[in-house]
Protein backbone atom coordinates (compact mmCIF):
# COMPACT_ATOMS: atom_id res chain seq x y z
CA UNK A 1 0.00 0.00 0.00
CA UNK A 2 2.78 2.39 0.83
CA UNK A 3 3.81 3.38 -2.62
CA UNK A 4 5.49 6.70 -2.67
CA UNK A 5 3.55 8.87 -5.00
CA UNK A 6 3.37 12.14 -3.15
CA UNK A 7 0.75 14.56 -4.35
CA UNK A 8 0.13 12.71 -7.57
CA UNK A 9 -3.07 11.07 -6.43
CA UNK A 10 -4.36 14.32 -5.08
CA UNK A 11 -3.61 16.17 -8.25
CA UNK A 12 -5.28 13.47 -10.26
CA UNK A 13 -8.37 13.61 -8.14
CA UNK A 14 -8.33 17.40 -8.22
CA UNK A 15 -8.17 17.44 -11.96
CA UNK A 16 -10.92 14.89 -12.05
CA UNK A 17 -12.94 17.14 -9.83
CA UNK A 18 -12.32 20.15 -11.95
CA UNK A 19 -13.45 18.50 -15.12
CA UNK A 20 -16.33 16.43 -13.94
CA UNK A 21 -19.82 17.54 -13.22
CA UNK A 22 -20.16 19.00 -9.77
CA UNK A 23 -21.46 16.60 -7.19
CA UNK A 24 -23.73 19.26 -5.81
CA UNK A 25 -27.46 18.85 -5.85
CA UNK A 26 -29.68 21.33 -7.59
CA UNK A 27 -31.73 21.39 -4.51
CA UNK A 28 -33.44 24.69 -3.99
CA UNK A 29 -33.93 25.08 -7.70
CA UNK A 30 -35.19 21.62 -8.31
CA UNK A 31 -37.36 20.02 -5.72
CA UNK A 32 -35.99 17.16 -3.74
CA UNK A 33 -37.78 13.94 -3.02
CA UNK A 34 -36.49 12.08 -0.06
CA UNK A 35 -36.53 8.32 -0.19
CA UNK A 36 -39.73 6.51 0.47
CA UNK A 37 -38.98 5.68 4.01
CA UNK A 38 -37.76 9.09 4.97
CA UNK A 39 -38.96 10.03 8.41
CA UNK A 40 -40.30 13.48 7.94
CA UNK A 41 -43.00 15.38 9.62
CA UNK A 42 -45.56 13.09 11.30
CA UNK A 43 -49.08 13.74 10.22
CA UNK A 44 -52.36 12.32 11.39
CA UNK A 45 -54.55 10.49 9.05
CA UNK A 46 -57.96 11.89 9.77
CA UNK A 47 -59.76 8.82 8.53
CA UNK A 48 -57.79 6.19 10.29
CA UNK A 49 -56.72 7.56 13.60
CA UNK A 50 -59.05 6.53 16.35
CA UNK A 51 -57.68 8.81 18.99
CA UNK A 52 -56.56 6.19 21.44
CA UNK A 53 -53.61 8.29 22.56
CA UNK A 54 -51.04 5.54 22.35
CA UNK A 55 -48.90 7.73 20.17
CA UNK A 56 -48.97 10.30 22.88
CA UNK A 57 -47.89 7.70 25.37
CA UNK A 58 -45.05 6.19 23.44
CA UNK A 59 -43.53 9.35 22.11
CA UNK A 60 -40.10 9.53 23.68
CA UNK A 61 -39.85 13.24 23.19
CA UNK A 62 -43.37 13.98 24.38
CA UNK A 63 -43.91 15.74 21.14
CA UNK A 64 -47.53 14.83 21.00
CA UNK A 65 -49.87 16.71 23.16
CA UNK A 66 -53.19 15.22 24.16
CA UNK A 67 -55.87 17.55 25.39
CA UNK A 68 -59.21 16.28 26.61
CA UNK A 69 -61.72 19.02 26.78
CA UNK A 70 -65.03 18.41 28.45
CA UNK A 71 -67.65 21.08 28.11
CA UNK A 72 -71.09 20.09 29.22
CA UNK A 73 -71.86 16.93 27.31
CA UNK A 74 -69.63 17.55 24.33
CA UNK A 75 -66.22 16.28 24.98
CA UNK A 76 -63.40 16.30 22.52
CA UNK A 77 -59.93 14.93 22.51
CA UNK A 78 -57.34 16.82 20.53
CA UNK A 79 -54.05 15.28 19.64
CA UNK A 80 -51.50 17.84 18.62
CA UNK A 81 -48.25 16.91 17.09
CA UNK A 82 -45.49 19.47 17.64
CA UNK A 83 -42.85 19.15 14.97
CA UNK A 84 -40.72 21.51 16.95
CA UNK A 85 -40.31 18.90 19.62
CA UNK A 86 -40.49 15.83 17.55
CA UNK A 87 -37.33 13.86 17.14
CA UNK A 88 -38.69 12.00 14.14
CA UNK A 89 -38.11 8.66 15.64
CA UNK A 90 -41.17 7.05 14.13
CA UNK A 91 -42.28 5.44 17.35
CA UNK A 92 -45.74 6.91 17.09
CA UNK A 93 -46.19 5.42 13.68
CA UNK A 94 -44.82 2.06 14.69
CA UNK A 95 -46.96 1.82 17.76
CA UNK A 96 -50.13 3.26 16.41
CA UNK A 97 -52.80 0.75 17.09
CA UNK A 98 -54.33 1.31 13.71
CA UNK A 99 -50.92 1.29 12.03
CA UNK A 100 -51.97 4.14 9.80
CA UNK A 101 -53.30 6.70 12.19
CA UNK A 102 -50.19 8.75 12.26
CA UNK A 103 -47.65 8.58 9.53
CA UNK A 104 -44.25 10.05 9.12
CA UNK A 105 -44.55 11.77 5.80
CA UNK A 106 -41.60 12.60 3.65
CA UNK A 107 -42.02 16.28 4.26
CA UNK A 108 -38.71 17.64 5.35
CA UNK A 109 -39.13 21.33 4.73
CA UNK A 110 -40.84 22.27 7.94
CA UNK A 111 -39.02 25.39 8.91
CA UNK A 112 -41.36 27.85 10.52
CA UNK A 113 -41.42 31.32 11.93
CA UNK A 114 -44.20 30.69 14.32
CA UNK A 115 -44.79 27.35 15.85
CA UNK A 116 -48.53 27.46 15.26
CA UNK A 117 -48.03 27.15 11.53
CA UNK A 118 -46.71 23.66 11.72
CA UNK A 119 -48.83 21.99 14.30
CA UNK A 120 -50.77 19.06 13.06
CA UNK A 121 -53.77 18.20 15.12
CA UNK A 122 -56.69 15.89 15.04
CA UNK A 123 -59.92 16.05 16.97
CA UNK A 124 -62.00 13.23 18.24
CA UNK A 125 -65.33 13.01 19.87
CA UNK A 126 -65.02 11.67 23.36
CA UNK A 127 -67.42 9.45 25.15
CA UNK A 128 -67.60 10.34 28.78
CA UNK A 129 -68.98 8.47 31.69
CA UNK A 130 -72.53 9.39 32.34
CA UNK A 131 -71.99 8.94 35.99
CA UNK A 132 -68.79 10.53 36.99
CA UNK A 133 -67.97 12.42 33.84
CA UNK A 134 -64.53 11.03 33.25
CA UNK A 135 -63.28 10.11 29.86
CA UNK A 136 -63.95 6.66 28.60
CA UNK A 137 -62.45 6.86 25.19
CA UNK A 138 -63.05 8.34 21.85
CA UNK A 139 -65.99 7.29 19.86
CA UNK A 140 -63.84 5.98 17.09
CA UNK A 141 -61.66 4.04 19.45
CA UNK A 142 -64.66 2.28 20.83
CA UNK A 143 -65.83 1.41 17.37
CA UNK A 144 -62.36 0.23 16.53
CA UNK A 145 -62.28 -2.05 19.54
CA UNK A 146 -65.62 -3.38 18.68
CA UNK A 147 -64.55 -4.16 15.19
CA UNK A 148 -61.45 -5.79 16.49
CA UNK A 149 -63.01 -8.12 18.97
CA UNK A 150 -66.29 -8.57 17.23
CA UNK A 151 -68.96 -10.14 19.32
CA UNK A 152 -66.72 -10.41 22.29
CA UNK A 153 -67.40 -6.78 22.63
CA UNK A 154 -71.09 -7.18 23.10
CA UNK A 155 -70.47 -7.91 26.72
CA UNK A 156 -69.31 -4.37 27.12
CA UNK A 157 -72.31 -2.09 27.19
CA UNK A 158 -70.36 0.96 26.11
CA UNK A 159 -69.19 -0.87 23.06
CA UNK A 160 -72.67 -2.05 22.50
CA UNK A 161 -74.03 1.45 22.52
CA UNK A 162 -71.43 2.31 20.02
CA UNK A 163 -72.54 -0.49 17.87
CA UNK A 164 -76.04 0.80 18.09
CA UNK A 165 -74.81 4.21 17.22
CA UNK A 166 -73.09 2.77 14.21
CA UNK A 167 -76.17 0.94 13.24
CA UNK A 168 -78.09 4.13 13.78
CA UNK A 169 -80.27 2.54 16.41
CA UNK A 170 -81.83 5.10 18.58
CA UNK A 171 -80.90 4.58 22.17
CA UNK A 172 -82.07 6.27 25.25
CA UNK A 173 -78.87 5.95 27.14
CA UNK A 174 -78.65 9.65 27.27
CA UNK A 175 -80.24 9.89 30.62
CA UNK A 176 -78.01 10.76 33.48
CA UNK A 177 -77.01 8.08 35.90
CA UNK A 178 -78.31 8.72 39.32
CA UNK A 179 -76.18 8.52 42.38
CA UNK A 180 -75.53 6.21 44.01
CA UNK A 181 -74.75 4.10 41.07
CA UNK A 182 -76.63 0.85 40.93
CA UNK A 183 -76.21 -2.40 39.26
CA UNK A 184 -78.63 -1.49 36.54
CA UNK A 185 -76.48 1.42 35.60
CA UNK A 186 -73.76 -0.82 34.35
CA UNK A 187 -75.62 -1.01 31.13
CA UNK A 188 -75.31 2.69 30.66
CA UNK A 189 -72.35 4.52 29.34
CA UNK A 190 -70.11 4.42 32.33
CA UNK A 191 -66.43 4.34 32.77
CA UNK A 192 -64.67 1.17 33.92
CA UNK A 193 -64.42 2.49 37.40
CA UNK A 194 -68.10 3.17 37.66
CA UNK A 195 -68.82 -0.10 36.08
CA UNK A 196 -66.77 -1.83 38.67
CA UNK A 197 -68.62 0.02 41.37
CA UNK A 198 -71.91 -0.88 39.79
CA UNK A 199 -70.93 -4.48 39.61
CA UNK A 200 -69.94 -4.80 43.16
CA UNK A 201 -72.53 -2.51 44.65
CA UNK A 202 -75.31 -4.93 45.35
CA UNK A 203 -73.04 -7.88 45.70
CA UNK A 204 -71.51 -6.11 48.61
CA UNK A 205 -74.90 -5.22 49.85
CA UNK A 206 -75.80 -8.85 49.72
CA UNK A 207 -73.19 -9.65 52.28
Amino acid sequence: MRVKKPKIRELKEAVKGAFSKPYTTDFPYKSHTPPLRYRGKPEYNKDVCVGCGACFQVCPAKAIEMVDKIENHTATRTLIQHPSQCIFCGECERNCITKEGIKLTTKFDIAYFNERDTLDSIEHKLIICQHCGTVIGTEKHLQWVLKRIGNLGFAQPVLLTQLMEMLKVKTDFEEKVVTPIQRTDMLKIVCPKCRRIAFISDEKKGR
Binding site: V58, I136, H141, V145, C194, I197, F199, E203
Partner: protein, 163 residues
Protein backbone atom coordinates in the same frame (compact mmCIF):
# COMPACT_ATOMS: atom_id res chain seq x y z
CA UNK B 1 -45.15 -8.05 61.56
CA UNK B 2 -47.00 -5.18 60.10
CA UNK B 3 -48.31 -5.51 56.67
CA UNK B 4 -49.55 -3.18 54.04
CA UNK B 5 -53.28 -3.25 53.91
CA UNK B 6 -55.04 -2.23 50.74
CA UNK B 7 -58.73 -1.77 50.46
CA UNK B 8 -58.97 -2.10 46.71
CA UNK B 9 -62.51 -0.97 46.23
CA UNK B 10 -62.11 2.10 48.25
CA UNK B 11 -59.55 3.19 45.74
CA UNK B 12 -62.24 3.62 43.22
CA UNK B 13 -63.12 6.84 44.95
CA UNK B 14 -59.63 8.04 45.70
CA UNK B 15 -58.49 10.95 43.61
CA UNK B 16 -55.79 9.99 41.15
CA UNK B 17 -52.70 11.65 42.41
CA UNK B 18 -53.49 11.91 46.04
CA UNK B 19 -51.11 9.23 47.09
CA UNK B 20 -47.38 9.56 47.18
CA UNK B 21 -44.79 6.92 47.44
CA UNK B 22 -41.39 6.80 49.02
CA UNK B 23 -39.84 4.44 46.56
CA UNK B 24 -37.52 6.99 45.08
CA UNK B 25 -35.45 5.00 42.70
CA UNK B 26 -37.45 6.45 39.87
CA UNK B 27 -38.79 9.87 39.45
CA UNK B 28 -42.57 10.09 39.71
CA UNK B 29 -42.84 6.60 41.03
CA UNK B 30 -46.09 5.69 42.65
CA UNK B 31 -45.85 2.11 43.75
CA UNK B 32 -49.46 1.78 44.66
CA UNK B 33 -50.46 1.86 41.03
CA UNK B 34 -48.52 -1.25 40.28
CA UNK B 35 -49.94 -2.96 43.34
CA UNK B 36 -53.41 -2.04 42.25
CA UNK B 37 -52.79 -3.36 38.81
CA UNK B 38 -51.65 -6.64 40.22
CA UNK B 39 -54.61 -6.85 42.56
CA UNK B 40 -56.98 -6.00 39.77
CA UNK B 41 -55.77 -8.85 37.64
CA UNK B 42 -55.69 -11.20 40.59
CA UNK B 43 -58.96 -10.47 42.26
CA UNK B 44 -61.12 -8.12 40.28
CA UNK B 45 -60.77 -9.91 36.99
CA UNK B 46 -63.54 -12.25 36.19
CA UNK B 47 -61.42 -14.55 34.12
CA UNK B 48 -63.68 -14.34 31.12
CA UNK B 49 -63.54 -17.43 28.97
CA UNK B 50 -62.48 -15.67 25.84
CA UNK B 51 -60.93 -12.66 27.40
CA UNK B 52 -62.02 -9.66 25.39
CA UNK B 53 -59.08 -7.83 26.89
CA UNK B 54 -56.42 -10.16 25.53
CA UNK B 55 -58.11 -10.34 22.20
CA UNK B 56 -58.44 -6.65 21.88
CA UNK B 57 -54.92 -5.80 22.83
CA UNK B 58 -53.25 -4.65 19.61
CA UNK B 59 -49.71 -5.35 20.76
CA UNK B 60 -50.04 -8.64 22.50
CA UNK B 61 -49.01 -7.21 25.77
CA UNK B 62 -51.70 -9.04 27.63
CA UNK B 63 -51.29 -12.70 28.14
CA UNK B 64 -53.05 -15.22 30.21
CA UNK B 65 -50.83 -17.31 32.35
CA UNK B 66 -52.48 -19.96 34.53
CA UNK B 67 -55.74 -18.23 34.20
CA UNK B 68 -54.49 -14.92 35.32
CA UNK B 69 -54.01 -12.04 32.95
CA UNK B 70 -50.54 -10.61 32.90
CA UNK B 71 -49.58 -7.39 31.23
CA UNK B 72 -46.11 -7.03 29.89
CA UNK B 73 -45.01 -3.61 30.91
CA UNK B 74 -42.37 -3.58 28.23
CA UNK B 75 -44.71 -4.20 25.38
CA UNK B 76 -47.81 -2.35 26.49
CA UNK B 77 -48.21 1.03 24.88
CA UNK B 78 -50.98 2.16 27.13
CA UNK B 79 -53.50 2.47 24.37
CA UNK B 80 -56.35 1.71 26.78
CA UNK B 81 -57.99 -0.65 24.34
CA UNK B 82 -58.15 -3.43 26.87
CA UNK B 83 -59.77 -1.12 29.30
CA UNK B 84 -62.48 -0.42 26.80
CA UNK B 85 -62.91 -4.03 25.96
CA UNK B 86 -63.23 -5.37 29.47
CA UNK B 87 -66.90 -5.75 30.27
CA UNK B 88 -66.39 -5.66 34.00
CA UNK B 89 -64.43 -2.52 34.54
CA UNK B 90 -61.46 -4.50 35.78
CA UNK B 91 -58.85 -2.64 33.85
CA UNK B 92 -59.00 0.92 34.99
CA UNK B 93 -57.25 3.35 32.71
CA UNK B 94 -54.90 4.57 35.36
CA UNK B 95 -53.71 1.07 36.04
CA UNK B 96 -52.18 0.54 32.65
CA UNK B 97 -49.70 3.34 32.36
CA UNK B 98 -46.90 3.31 29.87
CA UNK B 99 -44.29 3.84 32.53
CA UNK B 100 -44.89 1.54 35.43
CA UNK B 101 -43.97 2.10 39.02
CA UNK B 102 -42.70 -0.16 41.63
CA UNK B 103 -43.46 -0.87 45.24
CA UNK B 104 -41.10 -2.68 47.53
CA UNK B 105 -43.52 -2.38 50.41
CA UNK B 106 -40.97 -0.14 52.01
CA UNK B 107 -39.14 -3.14 53.36
CA UNK B 108 -36.18 -2.13 55.39
CA UNK B 109 -36.83 1.53 54.94
CA UNK B 110 -39.17 2.25 57.79
CA UNK B 111 -38.15 3.44 61.15
CA UNK B 112 -39.78 2.04 64.23
CA UNK B 113 -43.44 2.97 64.26
CA UNK B 114 -43.29 4.72 60.95
CA UNK B 115 -45.85 4.15 58.26
CA UNK B 116 -45.14 4.00 54.57
CA UNK B 117 -45.61 7.27 52.81
CA UNK B 118 -48.51 5.99 50.78
CA UNK B 119 -50.40 5.13 53.91
CA UNK B 120 -49.69 8.49 55.36
CA UNK B 121 -50.89 10.34 52.34
CA UNK B 122 -53.98 8.28 51.67
CA UNK B 123 -56.88 10.27 52.95
CA UNK B 124 -59.84 7.99 52.81
CA UNK B 125 -58.50 4.95 54.51
CA UNK B 126 -57.94 2.80 51.51
CA UNK B 127 -54.48 2.02 52.80
CA UNK B 128 -53.24 0.93 56.14
CA UNK B 129 -50.15 -0.43 57.73
CA UNK B 130 -51.31 -2.85 60.29
CA UNK B 131 -50.79 -6.14 62.07
CA UNK B 132 -52.64 -8.95 60.47
CA UNK B 133 -54.76 -9.55 63.57
CA UNK B 134 -56.39 -6.18 63.46
CA UNK B 135 -58.49 -7.00 60.44
CA UNK B 136 -59.09 -10.63 60.99
CA UNK B 137 -62.75 -10.13 61.41
CA UNK B 138 -63.29 -8.22 58.22
CA UNK B 139 -64.56 -9.90 55.09
CA UNK B 140 -62.91 -10.23 51.74
CA UNK B 141 -59.43 -10.35 53.12
CA UNK B 142 -56.68 -11.89 51.06
CA UNK B 143 -52.96 -11.91 51.42
CA UNK B 144 -50.47 -11.62 48.66
CA UNK B 145 -46.98 -12.65 49.45
CA UNK B 146 -45.70 -11.89 52.89
CA UNK B 147 -46.33 -8.24 53.11
CA UNK B 148 -49.58 -7.29 51.57
CA UNK B 149 -53.12 -7.80 52.67
CA UNK B 150 -55.89 -6.92 50.33
CA UNK B 151 -59.50 -6.35 50.92
CA UNK B 152 -61.35 -6.59 47.70
CA UNK B 153 -64.72 -7.71 46.60
CA UNK B 154 -63.66 -10.95 45.06
CA UNK B 155 -66.02 -12.30 42.58
CA UNK B 156 -64.29 -15.65 42.48
CA UNK B 157 -64.49 -16.11 46.15
CA UNK B 158 -68.06 -15.04 46.33
CA UNK B 159 -69.02 -17.61 43.81
CA UNK B 160 -66.90 -20.28 45.29
CA UNK B 161 -64.29 -20.50 42.62
CA UNK B 162 -60.86 -20.94 44.02
CA UNK B 163 -58.02 -19.03 42.63
Amino acid sequence: MKKLFIDYDRFLNVPDDGIRCSYKMHPENNGIISLREEIAFLFACRRCEDYPCVNSCPTGALKREEGIIKRSNVICISCKTCSLACPFGTILQELIPRIVSRCDVCIGRLKEGEQPLCVKTCTNGALGYIEEEEIKDRTDIYTIGDHIIVRVFNWLHTYGIKK
